[in-house]
Subunit: 149 residues, 2 copies
DNA sequence: CTGGATGCAAACTCTTTGCATGCAT
DNA sequence: ATGCATGCAAAGAGTTTGCATCCAG
């Protein structure tokens, strides 16, 4: 989402347009894919040296409410936010925790209908494929040391 | 999985058959669905008052390696382990964090094939549908207080 | 016996909260 | 001027690690 549109939507909601929100939005867009709060924070730092991590968290939550960001269901790993508007899915390595995008389309119509029947208001759906990434397959016993989980 | 089979598979791997492993396995099976480590631990307590939470964690991880349990990708919520062997999917309320099973079948063949093409060894796939559960839809602004996230 | 498994306590990471200050409106 | 948003610090939750002890094989 472009910046002017973002500002307009903030105004619509009666929310303040602050430098933090603007720069966090910019950093988030530039990062492109499933970024952690930490990564967003690091990217904002050069522009706003005093920006705090709690503000980044609050702003990412705001983005989620606005539909700009989507928190990726990444198992026990660190929370990831994904800025892509198009539907897509994720591969998650159960050994090292790496997350990759998967650009295939999945027919989740039956699932969404079943959800609605149960009184659940579905907003998005995402396929999580878990297994072992290429690196972890070759590493002994499926887990290479010196890697984040 | 029945207990004798479980013991056999432990032996196969050269792992010890300890009371903790037996009772955690039993508790996990009896709980049935997406249980937290805490819940498993509470269930084991009457049988083994000194069982520790770290042991429960270690054992659930072991179950996952053995293919007995599956860690549910539940966003930022507390980790859940699911004992069901059959493929199924989950509804996750973005407001209160509740997780429900969804028994529909999804054709994820294209996704699994795409994963394999990328060198990823897929072991399981799960559709995560996020949105608002019935309770949170009626609660004001989509979030009822006094509920776990 | 022997080393893998456990219990305990403590550390660690990520995320959220409380509160005084500041700034967008 | 007004009160929402921020920064800082600290708390909180969940999970993992280190190490001495114990017990299954």
């Amino acid at each position: 989402m472009i910046e002017s549109e973002f500002k307009r939507r903030l105004r619509e909601r009666g929310l303040r347009i602050t430098p933090q929100r603007i720069f966090i939005h910019r950093a988030f867009n530039e990062l492109g894919r499933h970024a952690t709060a930490e990564e967003v924070h690091a990217r904002v730092e050069p522009w706003l040296p005093n920006a705090s991590l709690p503000t980044v968290y609050a702003t990412l939550e705001l983005f989620e409410e606005m539909g700009i960001a989507h928190r990726v269901a990444a198992g026990s790993a660190t929370a990831l936010w994904d800025p892509r508007p198009e539907a897509h899915h994720h591969l998650i390595c159960r050994s090292c925790g790496a997350v990759e995008d998967l650009d295939v389309s999945i027919d989740s119509f039956a699932a969404l209908r079943a959800a609605r029947r149960r009184g659940f208001r579905a907003e998005s759906s995402e396929l999580i494929v878990s297994g072992l990434c290429q690196r972890c397959q070759t590493a002994r016993h499926g887990r290479h040391a010196s890697e984040p989980r």
